[in-house]
Symmetry: C2
Subunit: 222 residues, 2 copies
């Protein structure tokens, strides 16, 4: 496999990001590519979760990853290591991705007929939630050490997401994390939010997440 | 103690935030108030660390806290509970504080002759680092579960901070966290960065952090 490509993405010249995001979604529908936008705080385990998921589905569908980071390309390298095509997007200090930046990444996959592309957004619970990237579904990860009060403090990201992945459940015994409370608070923000408790490290709960993703991909390609 | 006040802070009307920050620092110097800007990811333990520090120094100096959050006032309530005056700043969706927003909080303390005010910034490693709040010193917390690679991914916040508090060292055995590596990466960004490994939960390392803070306050009031 070739080394992953690093792209310096630039902020959109489009004033209306929402309209531009709809346009990207229409393009994705036409080419049959399901795009998942994955958001979280720094260090919640986005890349480790992705690796656990990709190991399980990479032989079933054609999948690629776009890693957005302000700097460094450790994540793209980690994904490439397990044999999945990845692209590193450098945002040059920007705290989020918009639809045009996302398109610059998507178009790099060219005519590869991707069934699914995952956009690993910049680690940040605030700004990424404000910009529609053109993704078909939005997912977020909250890890156990971050605490169960996060839906109270960062309301928007819980509101715009379709699924909430609660990662690092293997360390539950060492933290004061109340699973019932986080579910209650998250559903206050978004009653339809689907919740997947997992441990990317031990693999617990990851199969259920993969099943959901494969269903979404099949649905999108209909 | 009266209930903490909640202020809806508005974005600055000043084009030149750096200049405005210098102005606020001059005001703080005149009134003998040391302002610490505390930054971190969501869930790294800013409030718990503050509580551990305040319990140890609140009888030695006159100290107050400004809690910045997009929504909720759970943090201001937690600080008030231990008998320290706190003010909740609501940013209305904003991902950071600037100098003018900080001033709106500072001025709420009125003629209370504060020796030290701590600004607990919005949980975010990206945007807060870009705006000088007018603080005398900048501190950040990185918690063990977030991983040791963060200085590679979020360079600016490590560059602008004077001290790095590494929190949750009590859970080191359960995570792949390399203390030597984080020190190496952090010092690549900022050779002068002072590092304090602590556990806000058990109290380990907190005394050294308090000593540093009290020294800074004394130095500022000279």
């Amino acid at each position: 496999m070739d080394k992953y490509k690093v792209i310096e993405v630039k902020e959109s010249i489009f004033a209306d990001n929402d309209k531009d995001a709809d346009k990207l979604r229409a393009q994705l529908k036409e080419q049959g590519t399901f795009l998942l936008n994955l958001m979280s705080s720094p260090g919640s385990g986005k890349t480790t979760t992705l690796k656990a998921v990709l190991e399980r589905i990479k032989d079933k569908i054609n999948v690629g990853v776009m890693e957005a980071d302000i700097d460094s390309d450790v994540d793209a390298a980690a994904i490439q290591d397990i044999g999945v095509r990845s692209i590193q997007l450098h945002t040059g200090g920007m705290c989020h991705l918009d639809a045009d930046m996302t398109r610059q990444g998507i178009n790099e996959f060219g005519t590869d007929n991707m069934d699914m592309v995952v956009l690993e957004n910049v680690g940040n619970l605030v700004c990424p939630a404000e910009f529609d990237t053109g993704a078909v579904k939005n997912a977020m990860i909250l890890s156990v050490p971050e605490g169960h009060d996060k839906p109270l403090k960062y309301p928007l990201v819980f509101t715009v997401c379709d699924i909430l992945i609660i990662n690092k459940i293997d360390v539950m015994p060492y933290f004061d994390f109340d699973m019932a409370k986080v579910e209650e608070y998250a559903h206050m923000r978004n009653p339809d939010l689907k919740i997947f408790p997992i441990s990317a490290k031990t693999g617990e709960g990851v199969d259920a997440l993969c099943d959901w993703l494969l269903e979404q991909v099949a649905e999108w390609k209909k």
